[in-house]
């Protein structure tokens, strides 16, 4: 039954072959249950689209806000649900484990449909946003300071063609080191599509940023080792 309904859902979206569409329409109109379900798909669509239109001014406001910071970020927002930026605030690091504060996680997915997400984004420190966007745009380290080789995760080695890039064959990682911490007291990481940005405040007052398609499970030991080195 689920398969029939899944097909009905695809029919509603016009995502079947021409032949399947024709057959699906005939089947649907002769089956009261399918017809009622199809009708409800329409009601749900109407509700969501109407609600989305009502919320449009807030989304526009965010776009306007971000466009002032960086047009690339604005374009990301324009892509609405394409934006998969996840801002996850980590617990203050302790020596035990790499913990994620699920309660304070923020997702900007789903067409930025959550008011809470929008507000949190607006409240996010602009310096952090600008820094994050710089990192995303530059796609490589451009700091003059040397990145300690001790920070490189196990299994990663420097790319001979790009001394700022480290790779384990599957994932790539860039480092960026800044003298200021941008007010960051805890490790934070952001997810943008398949890439992650780790903002790691160092004990000496600098901020280490690691950027690449390296998930937290891989980055975890790297961050642990940085913090364990007193």
């Amino acid at each position: 039954m689920d398969k029939n309904l899944e097909k009905l859902s695809a029919l509603y979206d016009g995502e079947l072959s021409h032949k399947e569409m024709q057959e699906g329409i005939e089947t649907m109109v002769s089956d009261e249950v399918l017809k009622e379900t199809f009708k409800k798909f329409g009601l749900i669509s109407e509700l969501i689209q109407r609600h989305s239109e009502q919320k449009a001014p807030k989304v526009s406001f965010i776009k306007e806000y971000l466009s002032k910071i960086n047009p690339v970020m604005s374009n990301l927002v324009t892509a609405a649900a394409t934006v998969m930026i996840t801002l996850i605030i980590l617990y203050q690091f302790d020596d035990d484990r790499f913990q994620v504060d699920r309660g304070s996680s923020l997702q900007l997915s789903s067409a930025i449909s959550s008011d809470q997400a929008k507000n949190q984004l607006l409240n996010a420190d602009q310096n952090i946003m600008e820094h994050m966007i710089d990192i995303m745009q530059s796609n490589q380290s451009h700091n003059s300071q040397q990145v300690s080789k001790n920070w490189i995760p196990v299994g990663f080695s420097v790319n001979p063609d790009n001394p700022n890039q480290y790779s384990n064959g599957r994932n790539n990682l860039f480092f960026h080191l800044e003298n200021k911490q941008l007010g960051i007291k805890k490790v934070r990481y952001f997810k943008a599509n398949n890439n992650w940005i780790y903002l790691i405040p160092l004990q000496d007052g600098r901020l280490l940023t690691a950027y690449g398609d390296v998930p937290p499970s891989v980055a975890d030991p790297m961050i642990q080792s940085i913090y364990q080195r007193k």
Partner: protein, 189 residues
């Protein structure tokens, strides 16, 4: 924006006189049209009547649809023009509707019930809140479809997953919303 692949099937079938395709098209677009007409007329009864007239006219005029806009845009224009004429005719006894409607020519099927329902305001927030609780993958695929109007192929590229996964996620979202509506007794009378 032109005609989507799905609407093209509806249009060609309706042009060929396929009543089932017409019925499916009405089921799909009636809620959006009703919502627009209620917004315009501020009267559910009047919107209901205009909705019926609109779909009759769609059936009559489908051959003149050139496909240079989305199907719903065309339907919407017909509906709003009828509403404007209706409004004008309330000030004048002579009807301003340029194309007379022969309502006997094609009956709009019974699924356009007199009490055509949209999801009530009080239920609306419940559903929107529920959608926020969907897991991120499901919600993202669903909103890319419903709000951004992306095709499955585009969504698959954005989310870097197979089209079949996109199809399943969108269906899953709808299925969960329907189950929630059942639990909450929304639209169950």
């Amino acid at each position: 924006m032109g005609v989507s692949k799905g609407d093209e099937v509806f249009i060609n079938a309706i042009k060929a006189g396929n009543a089932a395709a017409f019925e499916a098209m009405v089921l799909k677009y009636q809620p959006k049209l009703m919502s627009s007409l209620i917004g315009y007329t501020k009267s559910p009864d009047q919107a209901e009547e205009l909705c019926q007239k609109t779909f009759i006219k769609v059936w009559q005029k489908i051959d003149s649809f050139r496909g240079d806009s989305a199907l719903f845009t065309w339907i919407y224009r017909i509906g709003i023009n009828l509403a404007k004429n209706d409004f004008a005719s309330s000030f004048s006894k002579s009807s301003k509707i340029t194309d007379s409607l022969d309502q006997n020519e094609h009956d709009v099927p019974q699924y356009l019930s007199p009490e055509t329902e949209l999801i009530a305001k009080e239920s609306e927030n419940k559903i929107i809140d529920f959608i926020q609780t969907l897991d991120a993958d499901t919600k993202t695929a669903f909103t890319l479809r419903e709000i951004d109007g992306r095709t499955y192929d585009e969504i698959a590229q954005i989310l870097k997953c197979p089209i079949g996964t996109v199809r399943s996620r969108i269906f899953r979202a709808r299925q969960l919303i329907l189950e929630f509506m059942d639990q909450e007794n929304i639209l169950n009378g």
